[in-house]
Amino acid sequence: MPTLGSAMKITLNVNGEARSLDVDPRVALLDALRTHLDLTGSKKGCDHGQCGACTVLVNGRRINSCLTLAVMHEGDEITTIEGLGEPGSLSPLQKSFVKHDGYQCGYCTPGQIMSAKGMIAEFNMGWPSNVTDDLGTAPDFTEAEIKERMSGNLCRCSAYPGICHAIREAAPDEGTIEEAAE
């Protein structure tokens, strides 16, 4: 057992790059990204798994990065908002959020976009949700499905209408889980 406050050496694969770091085992994945790797695009809204602002993809699946420790992710493929695109070469979802004003202050936005990315992948795999009527067939990409699956991402600016419009329009241009993990 490492002693309290002593560092552990780990390597994370973040946005396709191997990043080595020494972290206190108490460091959440979110804090490793924000503080140790200077990837501050992932936001901390609650540090409790209650708001979704910290959503990233781990091996293609969306998770709340505040609820998991960095040392648990040795070797995992982590995708953050910085990995989706940057000004001048934004991803379809990112562009669509700008076009439809799917934000106001922008603080929940990286989490919304990463969550939307992960959600689209879940759809592609035919995962049902709480509002899916028939569990036997693949769900339709309806407004209610989007809203239900995006309800773990709070937006106090209340940009939900813009968020839904943005996701709907970008969805056809967003890839499958295999492509998302590239």
Partner: protein
């Protein structure tokens, strides 16, 4: 040079004459690509060399005194210090301009900031803060229960005519009491600060709404000169009133940094945000209304009861809109306050209207019902000709159009009586409410620079808290200077720049927008001069100046940059000035469980010139959704014994989530307010919330015949009465 205007008289509508055609358009936010790619940098995301990390320590008792036992933690790894000097009790009130209450080792509510622990890393600081021994001396005389208060202090009151007599003689009357719970702003970005000192000067990267005031507040809290404080808030992750005044993070970071001689970052934990940052007060409201046999109102009474901590210079202006929205000769207002050992009360989005309009618009609905008049028609009949108390004219007021056009677009004529419309196990109903929000102009300055290469720069310490400031100020400058919007850069959120109004009270866009307008207007005068025409003749479009018989590109006309400062100040005008609107809602109420689902909403809004149709729509969406929250789910719950907040996180305090929000429509009624400011615009962000929740609860009544008087309208308050 400074172009100064005191808004004493009506100004020409220059923005209707200019030719660039970018003002009012739904231009996407220029900072959008930074936000969607995670490159916009908020307060907690800056670093400084040799930076230490702080974590707040909260009071574990509701009342008493405390001593910090620093020895209990000094050997823990990473420990740098624990400080409790200059500690602010809670965040400063909006436009306070001085320090908030600072207590010496005294506790007045559970969760109050009592110290800051600083360590090398965040994890160490958090662990030390949680391990720190605090010696408390308890005072058991705790007042935590709103309902148990008996010693209400009478605050402001106003009487006109004879309310009791008018009600006794009226054909129709309503006397209803409503209660609203405390609300939390719950901006998604927790308050944070990074402070560093250079000699006597401190720079604080913080998350604040009104930097001009905040600089004075920080200086006063630290006992230093405001000239030695620089604040930076280029991106603010939502405010909603919670960042109007300085917060414990910014003061603690500065104090700790001064002690340690190294930069310190302090980020409030979400629980701290709920407890240490001012909440909207709980209210009790009694509304008495009366009308004659034609449905004309003859009496309006609105009294409210609310609480705060000792020595807080703020009371929720609950009855603000009640004063001018509807007619009736006999009027009475009263405010009663009391002190409780609970987190401080302060401004939360639309202070006053957010809860006052819930009660007023529910009571109007009740009065229309007893008078047997359609609620839209009832409101139309009671729009007064002039301000019902002082007789002033309204600067602009499109309330009737908002109600009429909104009703038309919403399909109001399809509305039925309670329990008449049913789909499966759901009752369906519609509700309406008026919206009103006083419009305010505040002093504001901005510098506008036009460069010879045909680009322009706008600089002001104004903030963009999500409200669209970057977009709007760029559009105003581009429109005035005849430039494409991508040629204009907007720099915000730095107290080294000219002092703006700040973001609050829905005055930000109009006030700071007016200062940019004035700066650009002064530049136009110089260009006209160089072109040899009058400013009235000058046309500027796509970087080309036309006037007299001349036509020349700006790149040729300018030898160097032209820089002008715009300065707007409010003036004296005898008009009643407010934004107006109407909210419509359709809800489904489950006949078995009492659950309410909002099915659709429409907001019909008039707020003068709309400066950006996209960001204005988003502001109204925000208001509608906050309306849904206040109607159905949002409620801070205090323990009656200790006054502490039981639901101090985002899992238990229920802000609306995506699935709670149906299709929302926003309709703007075209309007100009010539008295408001030189750009004829009025605030929209709080107007969109005013009345929105009442439309939802009025729809609940129309669906199932149950009136909820105790907000929020959770199923337990509905199904027993179905």
């Amino acid at each position: 040079m400074t172009e100064h205007l005191k808004m004493d008289k009506v100004q020409p509508r220059l923005l209707d004459e200019t030719g660039q055609g970018v003002i009012s358009t739904p231009m996407p936010r220029p900072e959008g690509p930074l936000k969607v790619s995670g490159r916009a940098t908020y307060a907690a995301e800056w670093k400084a060399e040799n930076m230490a990390q702080g974590f707040m320590v909260r009071a574990g008792i509701p009342k008493g005194s405390y001593k910090i036992d620093a020895d209990s933690v000094k050997d823990m790894p990473g420990f740098l210090g624990v400080y409790s000097d200059h500690m602010v009790r809670n965040s400063a009130q909006g436009t306070m301009n001085t320090n908030p209450v600072q207590l010496e080792h005294e506790i007045q509510y559970l969760g109050q900031p009592i110290a800051v622990v600083v360590a090398e890393t965040f994890e160490q600081a958090r662990h030390i803060a949680e391990s720190l021994k605090v010696d408390y001396t308890r005072d058991d005389d705790v007042a935590g229960d709103f309902d148990a208060v008996t010693d209400w202090k009478e605050g402001s009151s106003q009487d006109q005519g004879d309310l009791d007599d008018a009600i006794a003689k009226a054909a129709f009357a309503v006397d209803s009491t409503y209660t609203t719970p405390p609300h939390n702003s719950a901006a998604m970005e927790p308050h944070a600060a990074l402070a560093s000192w250079d000699g006597d000067k401190v720079t604080v990267r913080a998350s604040l709404q009104m930097l001009g005031y905040n600089r004075n507040e920080i200086a006063d809290s630290l006992g230093i000169d405001a000239a030695n404080v620089r604040l930076l808030s280029p991106y603010v992750g939502g405010g909603f009133g919670s960042k109007l005044g300085i917060d414990p993070a910014s003061v603690s970071a500065a104090v700790a940094s001064r002690h340690l001689g190294r930069p310190v970052r302090v980020v409030l934990h979400r629980n701290n945000v709920f407890e240490m940052i001012n909440l909207r007060t709980q209210t009790r409201q009694r509304v008495r209304l009366a009308a004659d046999s034609n449905g004309k109102m003859t009496a309006v009474g609105h009294e409210n009861w609310q609480t705060n901590l000792p020595d807080e210079p703020f009371a929720e202006p609950v009855d603000t809109a009640t004063h001018f929205l509807y007619g009736g000769e006999n009027r009475r207002y009263g405010q009663y306050t009391a002190v409780l050992n609970r987190s401080a009360s302060g401004s939360v989005r639309a202070p006053g209207e957010a809860v006052g309009m819930l009660a007023l618009e529910n009571a109007v609905d009740e009065l229309a019902e007893v008078a047997g008049i359609d609620p839209v028609e009832f409101r139309l009949r009671n729009i007064p000709d002039t301000h019902p108390e002082n007789g002033n004219a309204y600067s602009s007021r499109s309330l009737a159009q908002c109600l009429e056009e909104g009703a038309e677009k919403f399909g109001w004529s399809q509305r039925k009586s309670p329990k008449e419309r049913r789909e499966g196990e759901w009752f369906i109903g519609m509700g309406v409410a008026s919206a009103a929000r006083t419009n305010i102009l505040m002093e504001s300055k901005a510098r506008v620079t036009l460069n010879p290469d045909g680009t322009a720069l706008v600089e002001t310490d104004m903030t963009d808290i999500g409200t669209g400031t970057y977009a709007i100020l760029g559009q105003i400058a581009a429109e005035m200077l005849g430039l494409p919007t991508d040629k204009v850069t907007v720099e915000l959120g730095d107290t080294d720049l000219p002092t703006a109004s700040g973001s609050g009270g829905s005055w930000g866009a109009s006030s700071s927008g007016s200062s940019v307008f004035l700066g650009a207007k002064a530049i136009r005068a110089k260009i006209a001069d160089r072109l040899g025409c009058s400013p009235e003749e000058l046309r500027l479009q796509d970087g080309v100046a036309t006037g007299g018989n001349n036509r020349r590109p700006l790149t040729e006309l300018l030898e160097g940059p032209i820089s002008e400062e715009g300065h707007i100040e409010p003036g004296d005008q005898d008009v009643a000035q407010a934004g107006f609107g109407a909210h419509f809602a359709e809800v489904a109420v489950n006949s078995v469980t009492g659950e309410v689902r909002v099915r659709r909403m429409l907001a019909s809004m008039a707020a003068g010139r709309i400066l950006n149709a996209k960001t204005a729509q988003s502001q109204v969406w925000g208001g509608q959704i906050w309306g849904i929250g206040s109607a159905l789910t949002e409620e801070i719950q205090h323990d009656r014994r200790t006054g502490h907040i039981v639901n101090n996180d985002l899992a238990e305090y229920h802000v609306p989530v995506n699935l709670d929000v149906p299709d929302l429509q926003v309709h703007f009624v075209d309007e100009r307010d010539d008295y408001a400011n030189p750009i004829q615009s009025k605030g929209i962000g709080e107007l969109g919330l005013s009345g929105a929740g009442a439309a939802v609860t009025n729809a609940i009544y129309n669906a199932c015949g149950v009136r909820v008087y105790d907000y929020p309208a959770t199923p337990d308050k509905i199904f027993p009465h179905l």
